[in-house]
Symmetry: C2
C-alpha cells in the first residue's frame, strides 16, 4: 500500500454524530465526508470507505465512481445492507465491527428471556390497571434455547444463557456435536425439524441468501405453544407476517429488536399486539458504543496506513467473517 496518507471517505447521514475519534482519524488519513447523495462525487480517488451510516446502501449507486477503492469498513456487525454483487466480485476488502456487539447483545437477549419467563411485561400491565394479581412465573434454569447463528453474537449469547442455567443449542451451517459454546449445533437448513422442544428461539444470524426467511411459516408452526422468539439479527430472517399471525392468535410471543422495515411503520399490528415487544434496533447499543466502534476503525486504519491489511475480512460471498458464524 502507498506511503502517502490514504484518502478516506466517511459515509454518514444528516443527524448522525461523527466518529468520536475523527480528529485522530484525520491525523492518519485525508478525510472526505459524504452522504448517500454526495458519495458518487466524493469517492473518486478514495482508498477507503468508512460506512458510519450503517443502514446506507449508497456504495452500490456510487460503485462506478469508486475507481481507487481498496477497503470498506462497516461500523456494524451485519454487512447485509452494504454488500452487492459488484462489490462481492471485486478485490475490495470488507471488514466489520466484529466483536463490539457480542457481549451487549448477549445481555439484551438474556433480559428478554427473563422478562418473558418472569412475566415482567404482564405485571406492568396489571400495575397500570391498578390490579394486584399474583401469578406463577417460570423457573429459568433448565429452559431450552436454540440460538440460530453461531458467530460471535450467538456464541456470547450461548455462554451467558448457559451461565444462568438454561439449556442451549445452536443452529448453523454445519451440524456438529462438540461445539465449545453450544455443544450440539443443528443444521439451520433443517430448522423446522428441531423446534418442537424449544422454549426460546434466538435469531442471531447474519442476513444472507441462506438465512433470508429462515424462520418461515412452516418453522414457526413447528414451535410449541407458548414458545418465545427473540430477534436480534435482522428482520428479514423471519417471515414477519407469519409471526404476526402466530402472535395475534396468542400462540407465540416475541421480542423483536429488528424488523423487516425500520422504523416499524405506523399502524403495523406489532405496535399493539400484547405478545409483541418491539424495540428500535438498540440491543447492542450500550453507552459508549459509538466510541468503541470508532476506536476499532481507528486501529484498523492505523494498520492500513502502515501497509498491513486490516482484518479479519468479511467473506463477501457468504456475507460474514468465516469462522464466526
Amino acid at each position: 500500500m502507498s506511503e502517502r496518507s490514504p484518502i478516506l471517505v466517511l459515509l454518514t447521514a444528516d443527524g448522525v454524530e461523527p466518529p468520536p475519534d475523527l480528529d485522530a482519524i484525520r491525523e492518519i488519513a485525508d478525510v472526505r465526508t459524504a452522504t448517500a447523495d454526495t458519495l458518487p462525487d466524493t469517492i473518486p480517488g478514495a482508498d477507503a470507505l468508512l460506512v458510519w451510516d450503517i443502514f446506507s446502501s449508497a456504495l452500490a449507486d456510487a460503485w462506478s465512481a469508486a475507481d481507487s477503492l481498496r477497503w470498506v469498513h462497516v461500523a456494524a456487525a451485519g454487512v447485509d445492507a452494504v454488500l452487492f454483487d459488484d462489490l462481492r466480485r471485486s478485490d475490495v476488502l470488507v471488514t466489520n465491527a466484529r466483536g463490539v456487539f457480542d457481549g451487549p447483545i448477549a445481555e439484551y437477549v438474556l433480559a428478554c428471556v427473563l422478562a418473558h419467563d418472569k412475566l415482567l411485561h404482564e405485571t406492568e400491565e396489571f400495575r397500570r390497571r391498578g390490579q394486584w394479581a399474583h401469578r406463577e412465573t417460570l423457573r429459568v434454569a433448565g429452559r431450552r434455547v436454540l440460538v440460530v447463528g453461531t458467530g460471535g453474537i450467538g456464541r456470547a449469547t450461548a455462554r451467558l444463557l448457559r451461565a444462568v442455567g438454561l439449556e442451549v443449542r445452536g443452529a448453523g451451517r454445519t451440524a456438529r456435536e462438540d461445539d465449545p459454546d453450544f455443544g450440539t449445533v443443528i443444521d439451520s437448513a433443517h430448522l423446522a425439524a428441531h423446534l418442537a422442544d424449544v422454549d426460546h428461539l434466538v435469531m442471531a444470524a447474519p442476513l444472507t441468501d441462506a438465512t433470508r426467511g429462515l424462520l418461515d411459516a412452516a418453522a414457526l408452526a413447528a414451535l410449541p405453544d407458548s414458545a418465545h422468539v427473540i430477534n436480534v439479527g435482522r428482520g428479514a430472517l423471519i417471515d414477519q407476517a407469519a409471526l404476526t399471525a402466530e402472535i395475534t392468535e396468542g400462540r407465540l410471543s416475541a421480542h423483536l429488536d429488528v424488523l423487516v422495515s425500520e422504523p416499524l411503520p405506523d399502524g403495523d399490528p406489532l405496535w399493539t399486539l400484547p405478545g409483541a415487544h418491539v424495540s428500535p434496533h438498540m440491543s447492542g447499543d450500550v453507552v459508549g458504543w459509538r466510541r468503541t466502534l470508532s476506536r476499532q476503525f481507528l486501529d484498523n486504519l492505523r494498520s492500513y496506513a502502515q501497509g498491513v491489511e486490516p482484518g479479519p475480512a468479511v467473506d463477501k460471498r457468504r456475507g460474514y467473517v468465516p469462522g464466526t458464524a
Copy 2:
C-alpha cells in the same frame, strides 16, 4: 416423641388451595384444618402446626389454647408474620421453607436488574405510544450490586449476578472479606456508609428488629443518582414513604415485589410512578412452588413422626435460620 400419629393443624384460609400432598400427610398425622377464626378451638391437643396461609398471625391469638404444641412449620422463607414473644420464649420448634425460594428469587432479581439496565419498561412505554425511539442501554457486566441479606436467597442471588458479570458485595450482621459467595460483606448496621457506589441495591434480608426500616431516608439519600432498588425481602425493610419521595423526584427507581401493606392500597403513588415497578409478592413463586413447599413439609413431618427433630430450626430470637443470614 410419642408413637401415636401426631395431631397436626393445617392453618389455611378461604380460597387457599390445600397442600398437594395432603393425602400423604393424612397417612402420617391426624390432620385438623383451621382458619384464623377457628384456630383457638382447633389447636388444643395438637402437636404440630403447618402455617400454610403464610401471611397469618393467628397463632398469637390462639396461643393460650396451644397446650400441646411442639412444632410450627411456616411454608415461607420469612417467618416474621408468625413470630411473637410468647412463641420466642417457648420450647416450640419453628422451621421454615428454607431453600425453596433461593433459585427462583435469584432469577427474579436478575430479571429486574436486566429490565432496568436494558430499559425494557421504557421501551414498552414508547411502544404503547407508537414511538420508535432509539436509546443507549447499559452494559450489565461490571455494574455494582449490594445484596442486603446473606441468607440462602441473598447467596443464590449473588452467585447468579456474578455469573452474569456483575460486581457483587453483601451486607450482613458481621463484616468480613472472605465470604465464598460475596467476597466482601459489609456490616448492615452501617449500611448508609457503603452505598455511594451502588448501582443496584437488593433487599433480601429477613424482617427482624435489626432489619426493620434498615433502608431509611438517610440510607436512601446515600445512594447515587439513578440507583435502582430491588426489594424481594419484606416491605418493612424500607422506609416506603422516603423511597416513594425519591422515586417521585426521579432520582431513584425500584422494583418492589413486597410492600409495607399488601395488596398495595388503591391510590398509592407507587401504582403509577414511572420509576416504581411493583409486583404482587410473586418473585419466588414459580410453577410448582406449592408442591415443592408441600413436599418439604411432608419430609419434615416424616422425621417428626419418627421422633427425629425437623430442621434446621429458626433461631426465634434472631428471626431466621442461623448460618443462612
